[in-house]
């Protein structure tokens, strides 16, 4: 059983540096939810779904402990990245404005990010020793119920982010005992939006269509700090500022749900992410020298598909059990795989359940593991040649609190 749990995974949890952990109930169903509005997390998955969800607050957090390994194809030597712990979270509130067809809501969630830390003496240290990309979306949203079958919704996205990147610099001093290093760190922000249409027919079928806009995260005044530069090269590496831009890609999504019987619901989602906006990772330094020149490291991501499916079974009037599967295509081509994100195609399997502690309060638990093919690469820019493999387990927990309306049946159903 432990082996079964121990599938491979990447640093982040969907293709590229997108994180597929935006709602505990949805994670349990393979991160489906575009066509199945079942709690306030629909603000992320499909804001139009708010019209078909009761007033409620959903909060959740997941724990990621990625374990990354690199096997150098030339030296046959293995590098294990250091263990780290990441906690992407989400918080959603949905509220119906009485006597109107409108719902308003707010989502605060972490749709992108990545983090990996290698030993500072590893062979690829001049490419990267650590990276930490963090990101929070704030999304005030509104949905309009056109009739009993159809709603439209949208949200405005204000994105905050932070990048922190470290690498060694091949300059040694003090008899070879001290090696120089550089740190690039800065805060970023960007704007975007999230649109959706949601419809349902009777109690057996629902569906949705969404569009998440691209969000360009701009670092305007990052700090570039260099350490242990030999005095002879100090003027080549002045501490300075930098600007950079990281495009968080747009996405279209299509989802449906079928109620197979009273207790069993099937959800299916397709996502298509416009990763080709990520051409290169550049750093534009305020001060340029002979050694410190502006960088543009090619990434050349390609657009990528994900297909997802999930089931949920209302096992009792207190318990709902979920399971899901997905296939997520990597946007990263072989020649551009970097230690910052040793990504690959992956198959994910998820389990989850909700347990109603009382009429209005449920505990939502998810457990996700993903099987990622090991990734062989010869990076054309850095010549780093080898195989990456990463494993991670992602347990998640959340609570959902309903307010306002008297609850007739606690477990989920097609609203």
């Amino acid at each position: 059983m432990s082996l079964a749990l121990c599938m491979m995974h990447q640093v982040v949890l969907a293709g590229g540096f997108k994180i597929g952990l935006q709602g505990q109930r949805q994670i349990g169903m393979g991160h489906t939810g575009i066509g199945l509005a079942q709690d306030a997390a629909t603000i992320y998955f499909n804001p139009a779904g708010m019209s078909f969800v009761d007033n409620q607050i959903s909060v959740g957090v997941s724990g990621i402990i990625p374990r990354v390994q690199f096997l150098d194809a030339n030296t046959n030597l293995i590098t294990n990245a250091e263990n780290q712990f990441f906690t992407p979270f989400s918080l959603y509130a949905n509220y119906h404005l009485k006597n109107t067809p409108l719902n308003v809501g707010l989502g605060v969630y972490t749709p992108f990010g990545s983090g990996v830390k290698y030993p500072t003496d590893w062979s690829g240290r001049f490419v990267l020793t650590s990276i930490n990309l963090t990101n929070v979306f704030l999304q005030p949203s509104i949905s309009w119920k056109l009739n009993d079958n159809l709603s439209v919704g949208g949200g405005f996205v204000y994105s905050l982010g932070h990048v922190d990147l470290n690498r060694q610099i091949p300059l040694s001093s003090n008899g070879g005992q001290v090696e120089a290093s550089g740190n690039l760190e800065g805060a970023a922000s960007g704007l975007g939006y999230n649109l959706g249409v949601y419809f349902k027919t009777g109690k057996v079928f629902s569906g949705g269509l969404t569009y998440h806009s691209r969000v360009d995260m701009k670092v305007d005044n990052g700090n570039a700090v260099f350490n242990n530069i030999p005095a002879a090269a100090a003027s080549s590496f002045p501490n300075t500022t930098f600007t950079t831009e990281l495009p968080l890609p747009g996405e279209v999504g299509l989802g449906t749900a079928f109620r197979i019987n009273e207790d069993l619901t099937l959800a299916l989602d397709l996502n298509y992410t416009f990763w080709n906006s990520f051409k290169s990772l550049g750093f534009d330094y305020a001060d340029n020298t002979d050694r410190l020149t502006d960088e543009a490291s090619p990434r050349n991501y390609e657009n990528a598909w994900a297909a997802r499916g999930g089931l949920q079974w209302d096992a009792s009037n207190r318990t709902t059990i979920r399971a899901g599967l997905f296939y997520d295509q990597t946007p990263v081509q072989d020649a551009f795989v970097n230690p910052e994100l040793p990504d690959n195609n992956k198959i994910g399997a998820a389990f989850g359940f909700s347990y109603w502690l009382e009429d209005r309060l449920s505990l939502d638990v998810s457990l996700l593991y993903e099987d990622v093919a090991k990734r062989q690469t010869l990076n054309t820019e850095t010549q780093l040649h080898g195989t990456y493999r990463t494993k991670v387990m992602i347990p998640g927990v959340g609570v959902n609190y309903l307010f306002g309306k008297k609850i007739k049946k606690r477990t989920n159903r097609m609203n």
Binding site: M1, T75, N76, L171, F353
Partner: protein, 448 residues
């Protein structure tokens, strides 16, 4: 029910987290068709690990044969004994120490990093022959034409210290004492380098070449053939490396042929001077101008001088401050002497000899069916620069990161690249799968 579920789930999590360690399997290293049990390295300073103008203990530890022996050990290679010098400073063979970088102002008052001789005394070259024979037999200064000579072991202090009886042991006889199953042979560099680094003042193809002469390709080929024949006839397999072109190393490329950069005013002044001394044909202009070099074949004018031409090489041994501040290579009376310049005829002789040596080496490799390491082609890639795991390495002096402070020999990082090229060639020839070394674990240039 609830408690049970939580307990069950928690136990899955705990077990799962502990077992979630990735476990990649590398390739299985194999010796293929070769036997690395007893490896001997035969060669000159490049094989000994000479760097920064001297042989030192740390240089020996970072020599490419040392790296190879460690990789061979993965596929059945045995002990690799090295005639270590005492640790500390190196020895250039005549009691001088190795070079280190230090901060010094030049004649213009600009402070920069400059290679200087390490302070203190040079490592002792006292004999360690009694503990031989050694697997590491690189002999700094040795030419191919020296390899069979017993007398040579009384002339070369690096060879004298490792043999049992100087004057009667040769490089070949020492190598055979090891009974090698595998060898690397890289000789012939000094047959051209001695001539080239001395500015081409030596003789070409003399019957008895002295250090500083350009060896006759027939003699080089003859000696190498005897070496390979003796080794392979006793069952050894191995690799023979060829000779890099001199323009692959910074000693010959750091000072450009047209390094005199002038303003229009300075050029006008020089033009006046050159008219006055009877060389109006030498024209100076604003921007980059060729150095003035001695040339005894010049017939016009009063002085035997002319401007350097593209393709001619100014050696790194030319005193930098003399160029910067004392009008060397600029004033008509301070033309760069023959010892600091390889003129076009000398360059042509050197290139022709290098090509001839390499043809012979290639022929030896194929007729004895051993591996050929084409170091000439490989080291040419340094000029444009090579990238290893994100590190840019090239043949620029100091800043390039691959050559040591003498401008001829690699530093440990450069030697690691050479070791990896050797491994690549060996793997290809002998169907072995020997892992290469991690170049980044070896030191590049060390700044003060």
């Amino acid at each position: 029910m609830k408690k049970f579920r939580i307990i069950l789930l928690s136990s899955f999590l705990i077990v799962g987290l502990y077992s979630c360690k990735p476990n990649l399997d590398g390739f299985i290293p194999s010796n293929g068709d070769a036997d690395f049990t007893t490896y001997v390295s035969i060669g000159n300073s490049l094989t000994a690990g000479y760097a920064d103008g001297a042989l030192s203990r740390s240089g020996q530890e970072n020599s490419f044969p040392m790296m190879l022996s460690e990789q061979f050990a993965i596929v059945g290679g045995g002990d690799f004994t090295v005639p270590y010098l005492p640790s500390g400073n190196g020895n250039d063979g005549s009691g001088g120490t190795n070079r280190v970088l230090t901060y010094l102002p030049n004649c213009q008052g600009t402070i920069g990093v400059t290679p200087v001789l390490a302070s203190g005394s040079a490592a002792s070259l006292a004999s360690v022959g009694a503990s031989g024979p050694y697997n590491a037999q690189g002999v700094p200064g040795a030419r191919a034409v020296d390899a069979l000579s017993a007398f040579y072991s009384s002339l070369n202090p690096f060879l004298a210290r490792i043999v049992t009886s100087p004057g009667s042991s040769s490089i070949l006889s020492e190598a055979l004492r090891i009974n090698p199953t595998f060898f690397t042979l890289w000789l012939g560099n000094n047959d051209v380098l001695g001539f080239a680094t001395a500015g081409g003042v030596g003789n070409v193809d003399p019957g008895f070449p002295l250090p500083g002469d350009l060896s006759d390709p027939a003699q080089v080929g003859g000696a190498l053939t005897v070496l390979v024949d003796s080794l392979t006839s006793r069952g050894a397999e191995g690799v023979i490396a060829n000779i890099p072109n001199v323009t692959s190393v910074p000693f010959f490329t750091t000072i450009p042929w047209n390094g005199v950069v002038l303003t229009q005013g300075a050029a006008d002044t020089l033009n006046l001077i050159y008219q006055q001394v009877g060389h109006p044909n030498i024209i100076w202009k604003a921007g980059a101008n060729p150095y003035i070099i001695e040339d005894t074949t010049v017939v016009h004018g009063t002085l035997r001088i002319r401007q350097a031409r593209q393709g001619e090489l100014i050696l790194l041994s030319t005193p930098g401050d003399s160029i910067r501040c004392a009008q060397w290579g600029i004033s008509p009376f301070k033309a760069l002497g023959d010892a600091y310049v390889l003129d076009e005829n000398e360059v042509a002789e050197i290139n022709e000899h290098t090509a001839n040596y390499n043809t012979t080496i290639s022929n030896i490799a194929s007729s004895y069916n051993i591996a050929l390491a084409d170091m000439n082609s490989y080291m040419k890639t340094f000029t444009g620069g090579v990238v290893y795991n994100g590190v840019d390495l090239n043949a620029s002096f100091i800043s390039g990161g691959a050559f040591s402070l003498d401008g001829v020999h690699p530093n440990p990082r450069g030697y690691a690249l050479i070791a990896n090229e050797m491994i690549r060639v060996i793997n290809a020839k002998y169907n072995s799968t020997i892992p290469t070394v991690d170049v980044t674990t070896y030191d590049g240039i060390i700044f003060p």
